[in-house]
Symmetry: C2
Subunit: 428 residues, 2 copies
């Protein structure tokens, strides 16, 4: 197996996520990339800080030059954040012919032009899927999948902190300060929450999304920005009365040949899919002139979701290097060993049975379920003083084989007229 060495800048949330994923999914990553991916050096500020992660001490360095000048390191993952020294480090690394993966929306939002220009000049790859929407493949979607479209608008919930705060205010009636405090306690908001609640974070991200969607280079100065600090509980209540929900939206639309670019709290209809994107989830809603309406939704932040995007970018770089394209594995699964028999799946079940309206029939059927290890969660019997009665059962989770055996037995009961329907329940 070929080996590729990666230099990691920063061991905060994103850096830790990358380290963890490279370890926990090692086999899959080797298969998919063709490489054994090794983090060979990690740049940190403080060698002695306790980081709650099992990283060999000898990988850590406080000196960027050690990564920069090491020609065996082919890929640099920038996970420091902020503008300086990140931009400087990335530019210098590219000049040493290293490919870059970054999660840094601020660096791209402010210095995207120089970063992408350097990548082009140095003929290295520069990937930044993690910079918007964490694990949601929105950059990839705009860059690769939706190329057939003229994009008409992109509307996103791209800041998890403000979505969390507004969700708590909406669903639990907290006021802004209570909700912010809860977000800070849960680690969703920083001690200084300005970047989130004043929508700077969303502004950087919107500049990236709109640059990609509209084949242009959107400067952050072009974006109208409002924070969410002015939203009061009473506004949320009135919104509800009118059928709206207040969401922290980043919006870009092409209208009359011009771009509208704005980040602000917005009322949207309660019935729109974005209205139900709650807590710290992110979502991006795209309207293309071919694809129509498209929505991508998932975890916009956090160690592993952001790490998922970073490591996905590393795999893309390795595949592009080698021109590997992904194929179905030729390994055919063996039905008897690799595929679960339907009798062995676990599910909850809805069972509707027509029975004769005789005393004891409910008891008889319930007993059969019990004898076959099917435990009942709910029953509905609605009497209609007719000869036939409908019984509806919802079971606890059980093996499908148990249900099948119970049903066979119930069919043989004299007073059970017909098994009308059996529907599996997924408690997603």
């Amino acid at each position: 197996m070929k080996k590729v060495k990666v230099g990691l800048l920063g061991l905060g949330n994103v850096g830790k996520g990358v380290w963890k994923i490279l370890n926990m999914n090692k086999d899959e990553l080797q298969k998919r990339s063709g490489y054994d991916i090794e983090i060979s050096k990690i740049l940190v500020n403080d060698l002695n800080k306790n980081r709650n992660i099992d990283v060999p001490r000898e990988l850590l360095t406080t000196n960027f030059e050690e990564i920069l000048m090491d020609d065996t390191i082919e890929i640099v993952v920038e996970a420091i954040g902020g503008v300086e020294p990140s931009v400087d480090y990335m530019v210098r690394a590219m000049k040493r012919k290293k490919h870059i993966v970054t999660a840094n929306k601020m660096a791209i939002g402010t210095n995207g032009k120089i970063l992408l220009k350097t990548a082009k000049e140095e003929k290295v790859m520069f990937y930044y899927e993690a910079s918007v929407g964490g694990g949601i493949p929105i950059i990839h979607g705009l860059k690769e999948s939706l190329t057939a479209n003229k994009i008409e608008e992109v509307i996103g919930i791209i800041n998890g902190t403000t979505n969390y705060i507004l969700t708590k205010m909406t669903l639990e009636g907290l006021d802004f300060h209570q909700a912010l405090k809860e977000a800070q306690e849960k680690g969703y908001a920083e001690a200084d929450p300005t970047s989130d609640i004043e929508s700077f974070d969303a502004m950087y991200k919107l500049s990236i999304l709109s640059s990609l969607a509209f084949d242009t280079m959107v400067n952050i100065d072009s974006i109208h920005r409002e924070g969410i600090t002015n939203i009061r509980s009473i506004d949320i209540e009135y919104a509800k009365e009118f059928g709206y929900v207040i969401k922290p939206l980043a919006i870009v639309k092409e209208r009359d040949g011009q771009l509208e670019l704005r980040v602000h709290p917005t009322m949207i209809p309660q019935t729109h899919p974005l209205a139900n994107v709650n807590d710290s989830f992110n979502a991006v809603f795209i309207k293309g002139n071919a694809v129509g309406d498209l929505m991508l939704c998932g975890r916009g932040a956090g160690e592993l979701p952001t790490g998922s995007a970073v490591v996905g970018d590393i795999v893309s770089i390795l595949r592009n290097k080698e021109n590997i394209s992904c194929e179905f594995n030729s390994k055919k699964v063996d039905k008897s060993n690799d595929i679960k028999d339907m009798d062995c799946i676990q599910s909850e079940y809805y069972v509707r049975i027509t029975v004769k309206d005789k005393p004891g029939i409910l008891g008889e059927i319930s007993t059969v379920f019990g004898e076959n290890n099917v435990s009942i969660l709910s029953v509905i019997q609605k009497g209609k003083r007719e000869k036939q009665v409908t019984l509806v059962f919802i079971t606890h989770s059980t093996l499908e084989g148990n249900i099948n055996k119970a049903i066979e037995r119930i069919k043989s009961l004299e007073d059970a007229e017909k098994i009308e329907n059996i529907i599996r329940i997924e408690n997603l």
Copy 2:
């Protein structure tokens, strides 16, 4: 501009969508792919059929050999559907070194192995984003973006017809046959609806998704398949009583080292995002060990959405040929010309004002709005017999400049105490 010639097999829904997109987005496609993409021949069954599309008659042919033997054609788009002759055509085209783009889930579900093996042997690209989920970039997501993950489950609404039928039964109380008839009238269901309502279509698609998600080759025989024909209105009502919605799901889960593979109508909690994916929309819900929960949702069928995926694949092929990667366009937008001034955006507005409880103040403010071309949709004034009163206005769509002028004027009214909040409304 370099030119690339494409041979199109079939001029039904998908073929027409491809033709239309290549025409309507010609400029964008040239910029993004580096090529002028020209459909140079189209295989049809009947030269004289009226297809309601403006395609030059001389492009049509009934003879596949004309496309196969034309070495100037580098890419073949297969949009015939079904297994034969599609699979045969694709294999022969690949042997003539043509790249393939297809929307054909049945061909891949049944003959994926031979198709992908041929592509590998002949060193051509074989792309099939359109085969599952229409315009939703789910194949790309699994193949390229989520490579950092061990996928744990994929749960999808991947057949629009059955989702439409169950939605109509759920929201409008239609019975199965009424809903099917409506689906047929709207063109969502075929005259012979078997493939959809008996879940064959979803089964083919699930075999593709699960092969990609689990790095394997899932045979359609391994998939447990049930149609939706047995669902009665009464089941939908009972589901509601228990807090569930019935959705046509395709499910693959890895459990205990085995795959569960099943397609059947399923009850899911009303609060789950998939429960609100209605009508003919498709959605795929993915759980990965790094990314967590991810959902992609959009148009799963139709000329343009499916065409969007096909044409996106053509662009990918052209970029891979040339090793083009997408970058921010260096064209910086000019703030004065290209960015809309905030005063010129159109929106509806929520305006909350605290006023002195004096006669005539509502009239005064309403008049100011009117004088500034802001028309009022709703007003709420809840009397509380206090000195101050809250007025809440929802406006019709208007220019932000008008709102700003009106607000300036209202601020100067003696009895208007405070403009408490102004929130934009997007009627998405």
